[in-house]
Symmetry: D2
Subunit: 363 residues, 4 copies
C-alpha cells in the first residue's frame, strides 16, 4: 500500500486538488495522508481545514506557519517556518510520495522538505505561465519535483523543456502526465442547464494582489471598483493573503463594498455559474469559467501567459477599458463549454499516477 501525502496550504489549493483526494481515498492500493498548513489554518482565510474535515478527510497534521502582516520579508519567514515543521512531519509520516499543488510561496517549502529528504515529489499544475513571482515558484517546484501532473498539452511541453536536459542525462522517462486540472472536475458536477439563473448574481469581482506590484495594490482595486460602478448588481470577494492584500481590503472597505465571505468550492462555482460576468484576475476565470462558459474580464498581468478559452477578454488596469469590456461580456452572455483545462476526470488520473499506476491515467 502506497503512502501518498498531500500538503494543502490554502483554500484554492484544496479546491484544485479535492477531486484527486476523493479519488485517492477511494483506492484500495493507497493510504492517503493529508497535512493542512499555512493559510489553510488561518481564520482570516476561512480555515479551509475545517471544510476538509467536514468533507470527511482525516488530517494527519496541522502545521501553523503564517507570520502576521503580508510583508515580503514575512513571506520568506513563513516559508522557513513551514519548511522546519514539514521536515519533522515527513520524517514522522514516512510517505512514499508527496503531492504539492500550484504556485503559492508555501509550495516551495513543501517541495524543499520533500526533495531534500529524497521523498519522490509530485507537482500538480506545473508548466503554466502567468506573470509574477508565482512563475518563479512554480518553475522552481517543477525543478524539485520528480513527477508532474499538468493541465494542458502546452504545460506538458513547458515542463519537458525545463526538465529535459536533466532527465535525458538521467534516463528518466514518463515523468509528465497530462491529467487535466482537477478544478474542472468540480465544475463538471454542476448542472449547467440551470443556466437561466445566471442574471441573479450580476457582476462578481474577484481580484488578488500581484506580489511584485504590491505597492500598486490599493490603486488597482480602486480602478476595478470604478470600472464596475455602473453595473446594477456587483458582489465582491476578499483578496488573498499575499503582499498587498491588506491594502486591497482597505480599498474595499473605503468603498463600502462589504465583500462576500469565502464560500465552499461548489457554492462558489454555483455563484459563478449565476454571474453575468466575472471581473478581476483570478485563475478561476481562466480555468473553471472556460469550462462553465462564464464571461470573464481579466485585468492586468496576473494571468499573463496562461492559456485562455474564448470566454476571456483581457484589459489593463484602466477604468474605461474595464467598463467597456464588462458591457461587451454582459451583451454576449454565456459561452460554449471548453475542455482546454480538462474534461472532469483529472482527479482519477492524478490518483492513478500517485498510486504508481500511470498507465491507468493514460487510458
Amino acid at each position: 500500500m502506497r503512502r501518498v501525502l498531500a500538503v494543502v496550504t490554502a483554500r484554492p489549493s484544496y479546491s484544485r486538488i479535492k477531486s484527486a483526494l476523493v479519488a485517492l481515498r477511494a483506492r484500495s492500493d493507497v493510504e492517503l495522508l493529508i497535512v493542512a498548513a499555512a493559510s489553510a489554518l488561518v481564520t482570516r482565510f476561512g480555515r479551509v481545514v475545517d471544510e476538509m474535515r467536514a468533507d470527511g478527510f482525516d488530517v494527519a497534521a496541522e502545521v501553523s506557519s503564517v507570520v502576521e502582516d503580508d510583508t515580503l520579508a514575512n513571506s520568506a519567514l513563513s516559508t522557513g517556518l513551514l519548511t522546519i515543521q514539514l521536515a519533522g512531519a515527513f520524517e514522522r509520516l514516512q510517505p512514499d510520495v508527496v503531492v504539492t499543488v500550484g504556485d503559492r510561496h508555501e509550495t516551495l517549502a513543501t517541495a524543499t522538505a520533500a526533495s531534500y529528504q529524497h521523498i519522490p515529489l509530485c507537482h500538480v499544475q506545473g508548466g503554466e505561465v502567468t506573470g509574477s513571482i508565482d512563475d518563479k515558484v512554480r518553475n522552481a517546484v517543477t525543478q524539485l519535483a520528480d513527477v508532474h501532473c499538468v493541465a494542458t498539452d502546452r504545460a506538458a511541453d513547458n515542463v519537458m523543456d525545463q526538465r529535459d536536459a536533466i532527465n535525458r542525462a538521467r534516463g528518466v522517462q514518463n515523468y509528465v502526465h497530462v491529467t487535466g486540472c482537477p478544478s474542472i472536475d468540480l465544475a463538471a458536477q454542476l448542472d449547467r442547464d440551470a443556466w437561466h439563473s445566471r442574471a441573479k448574481q450580476g457582476v462578481i469581482v474577484l481580484q488578488h494582489p500581484v506580489t511584485d506590484e504590491a505597492d500598486e495594490a490599493y490603486a488597482q482595486m480602486v480602478t476595478t471598483i470604478r470600472g464596475v460602478a455602473h453595473q446594477p448588481l456587483v458582489s465582491y470577494f476578499w483578496p488573498g493573503e499575499d503582499a498587498g492584500g491588506s491594502a486591497m481590503c482597505k480599498a474595499l472597505r473605503m468603498a463600502n463594498a462589504r465583500p462576500v465571505r469565502n464560500q465552499p468550492p461548489l457554492e462558489f462555482l454555483r455563484m459563478l455559474l449565476g454571474a453575468r460576468v466575472l471581473v478581476g484576475n483570478s485563475s478561476v476565470g481562466i480555468r473553471e469559467c472556460s469550462f462553465l462558459g462564464v464571461p470573464v474580464v481579466n485585468i492586468g498581468t496576473r494571468q499573463r501567459g496562461r492559456e485562455r478559452g474564448p470566454n476571456v477578454i483581457d484589459v489593463p488596469h484602466d477604468v474605461a477599458a474595464i467598463r467597456e469590456a464588462v458591457e461587451w461580456q454582459v451583451q454576449h452572455g454565456p459561452y460554449e463549454s471548453s475542455t482546454l483545462y480538462g474534461d472532469g476526470h483529472a482527479g482519477e488520473r492524478i490518483a492513478a499516477v500517485l498510486a504508481g499506476k500511470a498507465q491507468e491515467a493514460a487510458a
Copy 2:
C-alpha cells in the same frame, strides 16, 4: 552606488566566488556586503569565515544554521532555519542585488529569501548538469534567479532553455552572461612551470558523499581506498558535510587514512598541481584541473553530465577500474591547459554584471 550582497555558505562556495568578491571590492561603483552562513561558520568544516576575514573582507552578518548530524531531515531543517534568518538580514541590509553561488542545499535558502523579498538575484554557476539532488537545487535556483553568470556556452544554453518560456513572455533580455568560472581565476594565478614538483604529492583522493546514494557512502569510500592502495604515496581529504559524510569519515578512520586538514584555496590548488593524479568525485577535478592540466580519475555519478576537458577518465565504483585508470593517468602525466571553464577573468566579469555594467563583462 549599488549594494551587492553575497551569501557564502561553505568553503567551496567561497573558493568559487572569491575572485569576484575581490573585483567587487575594487570597484568604486559598488558597496560589497558579505553574509557568511551555514557550514562557512562550522568548526568541523574549517570555518572559512575566518579565512574570509583574513583575506580582508568585512563580514556584515554571520548566520548560524547547520543542525548537527547529516541526516536528510536535518538538511531540510537547516534550510528552513537559514531562510528565516536570511529574511531578516536582507530586510536589514537592503541590498540592490543578492548573489548566490553553486548548488548546495543552502543555496536554495538564499534564493528563496531574496526572490520572495523581490530583491534581484544573481546565480553564479547555473546551467551545469551533474548527477544528484544538486541538479534539482541548481535548477530551482535558476528558476528563482533574475541574472545568471555561467561558466560555459553549454551552461548558458541550458539556462536559456529552462527560462525562455517565462522570459519571452515577460520580454526579458540579456539575463545570461558567460563569464567563465571564478574558480579558474585562482588557478590562473599559479605558476604552472613549477611542473616538475608534481610527483611530490603522489595521488590525492577527494571524494564527497552523493546525497541520493547516502546509504552506499561507506562502501564507496572503501572501494576508492582499495583502488589506490597499490600507489606509493596517497593523501586523503575529508569529505563534505552532506548526508553520508559521516559514514565516509568512518571508512577513512577504519583504514587509518589520516586525512589532510582543509587548506586555503591557493595552497589546495598548489597541492593539486603537485599531484600525479586526483582521484574521487570533486568538481575541482572537472574544473580547475582541466585548466591546470592535472590528470583526474573521476568516480561514479556525482559529476555525471558535467562538461569535461581531456584530463578526465570516468570510472564506476569498482576497485579494478579505479586501479587501472590511476595507472593510466600516472603513465600519461600532465595535460595541456584547457579554457573550457574560463580564462582567469571570470571574477571581473561577474563584478561588472553585478555593478549593472554588463557591457563591460561582454567586452
Copy 3:
C-alpha cells in the same frame, strides 16, 4: 560607553519603558540600542514601532515573529521564532546589558536569548502578582535576570524571596532596585488640574483576554458590555492579541461597539483623565489610574494579587456587580493621587541602573 539594548515587543511595553529610554538617550555614558519585535510590528496592534521612530528613537533591528491567529500553540511558535532571531541580533549588536519589560510571552524569548548568551539581563516590572500565565512568565524572567528594577517595595521583597537562595549562594548583592514604574512618569507629565474635563469621556472600557480563561473570553466581554449598557456615554478599546482576543473582538462587533483605535500613550492617558470611570481588567487601572486618581472598576482575575490604591473596586464577571460598581464610582468622582507605583522619576532611575550607576538610582 555602555551598550544598553532594549527589546520592545508590544505597545504596552513601550508605554512602560519609554521614559527610561528617553533618560538613556540623554546620558553621555550610554549607547542606546532598540530592537522592536513581535506585536510592536503588527498592523492590527497599531505598529508601535512607527511611534517609536516618530518619537525620535533609532531602531537597530526589527524582528517579525507573530504567527497569525491567537491560539495557544501559536504563542509558543512565535516565542521560538523570536528566540531564534534575537539570538542573531544580540550576537551582532554585542550589548553590555539587555533590558526586558513586563510579563508578555515574548518577554521570555528576550530573557532566554540574553541569558543563554551570558549577556547581563535587566528585568523591569518583576515581583508583581497578577492572576494568569503572566505570573509564570514574569517569574521565569525574574529567574533568568541579573538585575531587577521594580515598582514597589512589595515587588522588591517578592523578587528577593525568589532569588535569595541563589544569590546568597553566589554572594550577589544589590540586584534589586525600587525605581517606581516608568508608566507613572508619563502620567506625571499630565496637567491634572484639567480635571473638570473629565465627564466628557464618560465610561471607558478596556478589557483584555485572560490567557488561561480563553474559552470564556467571549462571554466575559458580553457581560462587561451589558454591565455598562445603562451608562449614557461608553467608549471601548480593542483587546490585546493573546489567546481569546479574537473572540472578544467578535463580541464587540456583535454589540456594534465600534472600538476606538489605539492611541499614542499620552493621548491615551489624557482620555483616561477625562473618564468618569475606567472599566475592565487593564493594569493601567491599577497603576496609572492610582496616580491620576481615576475611578476604576476592575473585573475578574487578571489583576489578582496586584497591589491597589484606593481608586479600585474589584468585581467578578457579573452584570449586576459591574453595574453597581460603575454607579458607585461615577457617584464618587476623582480620587487623591497615590504614589504607590512611583513618583514620576522611574525612567531616570532605571537609566542610572543600566548605566552601571546604581547609586544615582538610590539617591
Copy 4:
C-alpha cells in the same frame, strides 16, 4: 486514562527519569508518550534515543534541534528551534501533563511550549542549587511548572520559597512532592557487595564544561589531567555538549587521554562502583555516589550549593589540591550509603504523582 508526555533531551536526563518511565509504563491508569529531542538524537552524544528503544520504550516523536558548534548564540538558536517543534508535537499528541527533568537549556524549551499551551507541567529535580546558568534555567522552569517532584527536603523548601507568593494568591496546595531522585533507583539495583572489585577501575574522571566559564574550559581540563597524573590507572569520559565542551575534548586529545565511550546507565554505575575515586564536577558524584558510597573529589563551581553526603571533598581548579584530595580519598576507601537523594523508589512515586494519585506518592 491520563496521557503523560515525557520529553527526554539528553543522556543524563534519560538516566534520571528512566525508573519513572518504567513505573509509568507499568501503570494501567496512564498512557505514556515519549518525545526524544535535542542531544538525545545526536551521534556525537551517543544517541540515547536508540537505548530508549532498546529498553522497550516507544518514541512518539523525534525532534532534532541541536545547531552545530557549542557557541552561546547556538544554544539560544537550538532552544528556539526546539520550542517551535515541540509546540507542534504537543498540539498533535494532546498530553494531559508534560514532564521535564533537570536544568539543561533545552528544558526551558519544553517548559515554554507546555506552559504557553496551558498543559500542566511537572518538573523533576527542581529546587536544587548549583553554580552556573543551570541555576537560572532550573528556577525559570520551576516558575513555569505546576507540579514539582524534588529529591530532598531542602529542595522542596526552595521550590516553595520561590512559588509561595503566587500559589498562595491562587490557593494552590500540594504542588511539591519529595519523591527522591530517580537516578538513585538505578543505583539501588546494583549489588553493592561486589565491593571488592572496586580497585579495578582506578580513578575515573568525568568533568563537564561550566557554561559561564567556557573560556577557561581548556585550562580547567588540563589542570584536572595533571592533578590525577600520578595515579596508576585513570579512565576519562567525554565532556557534555555545552559551550566549552569542544575545548575540553581538545585538551583530552592533546593529553592522549583516549576517553571511554558513553555507557548505558547501569554499566556506568557499575564502573563507578568499581572506582577508587571519581574526580570531576559531575552531579553523579553528589547524587548516585552518595548512595553508592564512592569517594568523590568535586572540582570547581559546577556543583556549588548542591547538598552533599559525606563522600565528597571539594577542591578548586588547582593541581596540588586535586592531587592531595585524590590521595586522601584513595586512602579512605568506600563510604557508608546515604539516602540523602533517595531510597530507590523515586520512580514509582513520580509515576503516582503524574497519574494524579499523589496520595500514593506520599504513602
